[in-house]
């Protein structure tokens, strides 16, 4: 697998949490687009990068990959679609 793909995180307390794996060369540009859209991420515990958007919570190691996306209360398909556009994820059949 060479492009961005994702895996469902089943043990997460929030429904439909996915971990996105980006090609190494795509991670930094994707984070730059996320930063432009949502602002700068904050450093969390254990070296985790945290970016909180109005309806998504993005978490990743400091090198930005893989990227865990937790859907907050009130999330919509539009939020997820926009996130996919920003990281260049074409979608899959998992939803």
């Amino acid at each position: 697998m060479t492009g961005t793909y994702r895996e469902r995180v089943f043990s997460c307390p929030r429904d439909r949490t996915y971990k996105y794996y980006l090609p190494k060369e795509d991670a930094q540009p994707a984070w730059e687009r996320l930063r432009e859209e949502f602002g700068a991420p904050s450093p969390g515990a254990c070296g985790v990068l945290v970016l909180e958007t109005p309806r998504l919570l993005l978490r990743a190691p400091s090198w930005g990959n893989p990227l865990t996306v937790i859907r907050k209360r009130g999330w919509s398909e539009d939020d997820v679609r926009r996130f996919h556009e920003l990281i260049g994820f074409p979608g899959d059949s998992q939803e």
Partner: protein, 431 residues
């Protein structure tokens, strides 16, 4: 002598979207929005003995999967009064914990508020009095650790699930206000109610009585011996990093971390619940079944909790880069568990895919048995035994998480509560 090796201060912070999170260190004070009292709790961590201490009591980190499954195992056992045992353990352990937390707090209003703040800080949810400052008729829960656990596993269930909270409230009213009361949950978020409602009633029976001294003085038992060294896995770094995580209830009183909801449970509660449940089961002629039940709950906990940990961003950031094979992952997972307050334990032998031996110097179950009951004629560390199997299921099992349950079996063949120097566990492929 109790010497905190690391002191981590953590205050609940409400932050708006876009604000940067901040983590006060060293017991700073701040006002908890919506609660109106100052949260001054800190978590003292003894990294040598792998213990966590809050407001004078030893606390154990477990997740919503484990706590709700443990509740179901004990309350759902109809051969004994499981529900009564569960609530009695909650009430009596909280009575001791809250009494220790009241040092220097004398006004009833302040004592009551401190009880609610501690409950929130430890991650059990957030409680409010809707009709005044002090509880006269009812208390409302706006979030609940136990509801999160039950709704994740049995979303269709509609019966109330917050008996642990009712036990807490009975203890809190006694400790803060000197009134012996009972609480009944008449509406629960598990049943789709907007909030959990607990109705207060006068109590005819005896007042709550505290239990537990385990909490106040963790033993000087030796740490577990050093196990096989995996060159790439820096266990000390993992323990220190996880111990330093700011683990405290958020503005809803929940602790989302490692892809699960954590709670800092008083060690006295687990020990009292386990000891009294197993005693009742033995009396009913079902002691072995009781042990198997508790071990299975812990095995499933080992699978779910550590599956959550292994798929978390914290794992990706801190531990995954150290791991090159499943054996490394196992050492990393056990290192994480040494930051959870369970006591110090280590892998002493690991045959990949086949078996694992672990040794615990001061597991909380053995200490609880010795403090609450005295020496035992049989090993008593059912949680650590079950988790040993769950870790092997997770790392070396096959199939989905659910399918891995039971692929490995574990036993405790030496226990400190039975006179051994350490507790020792063997997990191997199930027959």
């Amino acid at each position: 002598m109790w010497i905190p090796a690391i002191v981590v201060g953590r205050i609940v912070i409400r932050r708006a979207v876009g604000e940067r999170a901040s983590v006060p260190q060293g017991g700073e004070r701040t006002t908890v929005p919506g609660v109106g009292a100052e949260m001054t709790f800190t978590t003292d961590i003894d990294s040598v003995r792998a213990r966590r201490l809050v407001a004078g009591s030893s606390v154990i980190l477990h997740c919503h999967h484990y706590n709700s499954r443990l509740q179901k195992a004990i309350e759902g056992t109809t051969a004994v009064d499981g529900r009564g045992l569960w609530m009695a353990s909650a009430e009596s352990s909280w009575t001791g914990v809250l009494e220790r937390a009241m040092a220097g707090v004398s006004a009833p209003r302040d004592r009551w508020q401190r009880c609610l703040d501690l409950y929130q800080f430890l991650g059990f949810g957030r409680l409010q009095v809707p009709d005044g400052e002090l509880p006269e008729t009812q208390v409302v829960g706006v979030a609940s650790h136990f509801v999160e656990g039950w709704s994740a596993r049995e979303p269709e269930r509609t019966q109330p699930v917050c008996s642990f909270t009712a036990g807490f409230l009975q203890a809190a009213v006694w400790v803060a206000l000197g009134r012996a009361v009972t609480f009944e949950e008449v509406a629960c978020q598990q049943g789709r109610a907007p909030a959990c409602e607990f109705v207060l009633r006068p109590r005819a029976g005896a007042a709550p009585r505290p239990i537990g001294v385990v909490a106040a003085k963790p033993s000087d038992a030796p740490a577990a011996p050093v196990g096989p060294v995996r060159p790439g896995v820096d266990e000390a770094k993992i323990v220190e990093a996880v111990s330093s995580m700011p683990i405290a209830g958020d503005d809803r009183g929940l602790i989302p971390a490692f892809n699960v909801f954590l709670a800092s449970m008083p060690a006295d509660f687990y020990n009292h619940a386990s000891v009294t449940f197993l005693a009742a089961m033995r009396e009913a002629g079902m002691g072995a079944l009781g042990r198997r039940l508790l071990m299975q709950v812990a095995e499933i906990c080992g699978l779910n909790t550590f599956a959550g940990i292994r798929s978390s961003a914290e794992w990706d950031a801190l531990i995954a880069p150290m791991c090159h094979d499943p054996a490394d992952e196992m050492i990393g997972l056990v290192a994480v568990s040494n930051a959870l307050g369970w006591g110090s334990w280590r892998v002493t032998d690991l045959v990949p895919g086949e078996s694992m031996r672990l040794s615990a110097g001061n597991g909380y179950e053995a200490e609880g048995q010795l403090e609450l009951v005295g020496p035992s004629h049989e090993p008593c560390c059912v949680m650590l035994t079950g988790v040993s199997a769950g870790l092997m299921d997770l790392v070396y099992g096959t199939g989905s998480v659910r399918e891995r349950v039971g692929q490995f079996a574990a036993s405790e063949h030496r226990c400190r509560a039975s006179g051994a120097e350490r507790c020792e566990f063997l997990a191997e492929e199930a027959a």
